[in-house]
């Protein structure tokens, strides 16, 4: 009895397996057949009703899934945004640095830095906390050949002079500092004077002690004079751009022998500078 039952089971199983393979062989690659069309026709209305009835439940499950997915995606996007922002900031910094280095290179190639000077490039690592921004600290010092009184320039023009040096850093006194005085001349006129900071206005300079007979005009450039006489010479090599004349009234020139100058270098936002070491002084 049991054996008979087992045999019958095996027979049914074999029949089902063989039936499956026969069905596969017969129907494979022939598209829909009449059996499938018939079953689909019968089930279509039922499926349609089930579809409509189950739509709210489906929407609910899908809403949960979408919400979780959106939360995960939100977190992922935040991380990506953070990384992109860091990259962007890095790229912008690199671009700014690149622009400054290009300017320095242009100043170097343009002949503004006379032969005999060896420029040493440094980065500003500290600033004076006062409103006057009168001095900055740079990351090159005596180890790089920097010494006191070396002129300091950036891509735009003269920045100041080295006032103190240690092994790996130096303090640069800017031309806007109250103690600074730079002999300068107006080009192309050649009118000479001394560049001093304008009291109470750190963004502006004054070209003082000019020859009142020659009238200086607004927009004219001011460069270092770089004089040399009787064994003495200026700390600054000649023809380094300082700034441009922004205010030059004839009355002021005749009465006070001075004009206002705006420095080319942005003294409040210095990043890269070059110390002109060596020279023929």
């Amino acid at each position: 009895m049991y054996r008979k039952q087992v045999r019958r089971r095996r027979a049914v199983l074999a029949l089902l397996v063989v039936g499956s393979f026969v069905l596969l062989t017969v129907t494979y690659g022939r598209g829909s057949n009449s059996v499938q069309r018939g079953v689909s026709t019968i089930f279509s209305p039922v499926q349609s009703v089930a579809n409509r009835a189950l739509k709210p439940a489906r929407d609910l499950v899908n809403w949960f899934d979408s919400t979780f997915d959106a939360r995960g995606r939100n977190g992922r996007l935040h991380t990506e945004l953070e990384a992109a922002r860091k990259q962007s900031v890095g790229a912008q910094t690199a671009l700014a640095e690149n622009a400054q280095l290009r300017k320095l290179l242009a100043l170097d190639r343009g002949g503004a830095i006379p032969s005999g000077y060896k420029p040493v490039t440094g980065e500003v690592i500290g600033r004076s906390p006062t409103v006057w921004f009168s001095d900055v600290t740079i990351d090159v010092g005596s180890g790089s050949g920097v010494s006191v009184n070396n002129p300091v320039v950036n891509g735009d023009g003269l920045v100041g002079t080295v006032s103190a040096v240690i092994g790996g850093s130096a303090t640069v006194t800017l031309i806007a500092d109250g103690s600074s005085a730079v002999s300068a001349k107006v080009v192309p006129l050649g009118v000479q004077g001394v560049i001093r900071p304008a009291v109470g206005d750190p963004g502006s300079l004054i070209l003082d002690f000019i020859d009142s007979a020659k009238h200086v005009h607004r927009g004219q450039a001011v460069v270092t004079a770089g004089w040399r006489a009787q064994g003495l010479s200026s700390r600054f090599p000649p023809n380094i751009p300082i700034g441009e004349v922004t205010h030059a009234s004839i009355e002021e020139q005749e009465a006070q022998q001075q004009v206002e100058v705006r420095p080319f270098a942005d003294l409040r936002n210095l990043e890269l500078v070059q110390v002109l070491t060596g020279g023929s002084r």
């Binding site: 039936g19 129907t27 499938q36 089930a50 899934d65």
Partner: protein, 182 residues
């Protein structure tokens, strides 16, 4: 399982309902980018409750109906699901393990088996595609779903087929037996 016409009707209803629910609901919802597949779990439950014959026949029927409604080559789904049902039935007949975890674990393992089987049939039929990690991930997640859905499906099927189940314990008496002379 004692298959009477009434039980047969219930089995047919379970199969139809399962296929309809799969096509109208489970196949159209996504959880973790995967749609649950409850049909292997249903076939496993039927196999666990009814044995190899019930598992194999219902598996074949479910597969056949699925192939018909999906306009797929007939026989592929039947072959896979009849094997799944047969294996579930075989487990019931061979092993005497009575644990509440048997149904969900078997649903999980045999769903993975069924999904691999469906993949094998597709490859056998000449679907030219490489097996990407996404497919494997899909299979694994489906089997995890089967673990969680397996228990309620098993309980539901067991409840529907209770009159036919041989091993179903007797209904607990509501009142203690009267002892004569006490």
């Amino acid at each position: 399982m004692i298959v009477t016409p009434k039980i047969l009707a219930r089995l047919v209803a379970i199969v139809l309902l399962g296929v309809l629910l799969q096509l109208s609901f489970f196949s159209r919802v996504t959880v973790f980018h995967t749609s649950p597949d409850v049909l292997p779990a249903l076939v496993v439950s039927l196999g666990l409750l009814g044995g190899t014959m019930t598992g194999a026949v219902t598996g074949f029927s479910v597969g056949f109906l699925l192939d018909c409604l999906l306009i797929a080559p007939l026989g592929g789904g039947s072959l896979v699901l009849l094997s799944t049902g047969y294996l579930a039935g075989l487990f019931r007949e061979r092993f005497e393990i009575h644990s509440q975890l048997v149904a969900p674990l078997l649903c999980m393992v045999l769903t993975l088996f069924a999904e691999l089987g469906f993949g094998a049939v597709q490859l056998m039929l000449g679907i030219d595609s490489s097996v990407s990690t996404l497919v494997i991930r899909d299979m694994l997640i489906k089997s995890v779903f089967a673990f969680f859905l397996g228990w309620p499906i098993y309980l539901g099927v067991k409840r529907a087929l209770r009159p036919a189940l041989v091993e179903e314990p007797a209904v607990r008496r509501s009142r203690p037996p009267t002892v004569l002379g006490a």
